[in-house]
């Protein structure tokens, strides 16, 4: 039994170990950073000859859980501080996480806003299908905070696993509206429209970034790049707000 287990471990180790040969880092980033970080990664690779950045995008709590379960990540970029704090408390983070960017919420609707949604209050309209990210996903938490600030009582018809899934369901026409980040509406181009949420009800999303235990120097270089003026300009060009 023991020999078998050792053999299994050796086989699995051989199968998984080959990936980390070159100068590459693996960045786990919140789903809302998908397009932005791909662009940031290409710029980073241009600046650092021979370096490759591999991304894994998903809902922030999904990524945090994967890291806790031993997934190989060098950098973690979260869409809220709660999940980052959880990893820090678990001893998975090197040093102090740094806030690298902020984001605002917006209502995503079908192109041209056929249901004439003008604000958060309209989301509670009977017959209207409103969805959001799940309560553990940052975008879902921020959405409930915004609704609470506006005093609107509405339960989403579905709790999607990440914010991009909310955009997709609205784009497909399955849902009439969802609360997502302003950057998501922008990234989806003319496939959806956005309805702004006034400042008094809006929530400022805070994105921390940190290197994960076992990461090499390249991870810190990537973090520095995200915080640099060049990196911040790229993030800004996708609609994020400078940290």
């Amino acid at each position: 039994m023991r020999a078998t287990l050792v053999a299994v471990a050796v086989l699995l180790g051989a199968a998984c170990g080959t990936a980390s040969g070159g100068v590459s880092i693996s960045v786990f980033a919140a789903a809302s950073l998908t397009d932005t970080f791909k662009s940031l990664g290409s710029s980073f690779e241009r600046d650092h000859a021979g370096a490759t950045v591999k991304f894994s995008f998903a809902g922030t709590p999904t990524l945090a859980t994967q890291i806790e379960q031993g997934a190989h990540a060098d950098v973690f970029a979260a869409a809220d501080t709660a999940n980052m704090d959880r990893l820090k408390a678990g001893g998975f983070v090197i040093g102090e996480p740094k806030v690298f960017v902020h984001n605002r919420l917006e209502i995503v609707v079908a192109p041209g806003n056929p249901k004439r949604i003008s604000g958060l209050a309209d989301l509670a309209r009977p017959g209207l299908i409103y969805i959001a990210a799940g309560p553990t996903v940052p975008a879902g938490k921020y959405a409930s905070q915004a609704l609470a600030k506006a005093g609107v009582q509405v339960t989403p018809r579905s709790q999607e696993t990440d914010v991009k899934a909310v955009v997709s369901k609205v784009e497909l026409g399955e849902a009439d509206a969802g609360i997502v980040y302003a950057t998501d509406v922008r990234a989806a181009g003319d496939r959806v429209s956005g309805v702004p949420i006034p400042d008094q009800y809006n929530v400022l999303a805070t994105y921390p970034i940190a290197a994960i235990k076992g990461a090499g120097g390249l991870a810190n270089e990537f973090i520095d790049f995200a915080l640099s003026d060049a990196g911040q300009s790229i993030l800004e060009s996708f609609g994020f707000q400078r940290a």
Partner: protein, 267 residues
């Protein structure tokens, strides 16, 4: 593991024994992991948590409903495949068996494009009847039936093909009408296949994840079935997700034990 060698006369060569042991360990170690890591002390609390009970209730309702739908539609389909010769039968059977090998998430997307609010049939359902399936329990039943019904159809078809048709002929010769022959002779004769097909279908429906979350979405009590709850609990309450996983594992084990004569041979 080495103690359960079935053949006594022949000894396995060392390399085969090692690889076979690895193969077996690959399946057994994860199961042991689940059992070892399950917090037995909190198991009852996790089980009776409101969210868990809701997911359990919804899973039972949806999987039983989709088994019922699969029986009503799948048995006639199996009968047609087994008894009627028509052009394109092989192609049709292949198409209706496809969900068995199709990635469930692809099934979910296909369902959206067919039965979603803007889907081929869904747009019509919405405009004429005001029915929308996504984000509803009916949508969960659709997704589960889509993925699970082929298991029933194939099992029942095999039963129909292997049964002795002389009983049907005798009943017919004695003046029984076709419906009577079907309900009083055919169905009782294929009862074991029918039961096995229904159980397989139910187990597959109970475990459905990909098509459900894609087509029906995720909301506690409405579309959040056990597998969805397990997946999402892993992020917030890993201990709870271990307990739910173990329940699903026990159900699967019970199904396997129940079907052992069909699957594991009668050796």
């Amino acid at each position: 593991m080495a103690s359960s060698a079935p053949e006594r006369r022949e000894r396995a060569p060392a390399w085969i024994a090692v690889l076979a042991a690895l193969g077996a360990a690959f399946f057994i170690v994860p199961l042991i992991g689940l059992v070892v890591r399950t917090p037995w002390g909190e198991a009852f609390d996790s089980l009776t948590a409101p969210d868990t009970l809701e997911a359990l209730r919804l899973s039972l309702i949806a999987s039983l409903a989709s088994t019922a739908v699969a029986l009503v539609l799948g048995v006639p389909l199996a009968w047609v495949y087994a008894r009627i010769e028509f052009p394109g039968r092989t192609v049709l059977r292949a198409l209706t068996t496809l969900p068995m090998v199709l990635p469930p998430v692809v099934g979910g997307i296909a369902l959206l494009l067919a039965f979603g609010r803007r889907g081929l049939v869904g747009a019509w359902l919405d405009s004429v009847f005001g029915i929308t399936l996504p984000f509803s329990t009916a949508g969960v039943v659709f997704a589960e039936t889509f993925v699970a019904m082929p298991f029933l159809v194939l099992t029942v078809e095999a039963g129909l093909r292997s049964m002795d048709r002389r009983y049907e002929e005798a009943a017919r010769a004695l003046g029984a009408r076709r419906w009577t022959v079907f309900t009083r002779v055919t169905l009782p004769l294929i009862a074991p296949s029918l039961a096995a097909g229904a159980v397989l279908c139910w187990a597959r429906a109970l475990g459905e994840f990909g098509a459900t979350i894609t087509f029906a979405g995720n909301f506690p009590g409405v579309t959040q079935t056990m597998p969805l709850a397990v997946y999402l609990l892993l992020e917030t309450n890993p201990q709870g997700s271990f307990v739910l996983s173990l329940i699903l594992l026990l159900v699967s084990l019970a199904v396997l034990v129940g079907l052992r004569h069909r699957w594991l041979g009668s050796a």
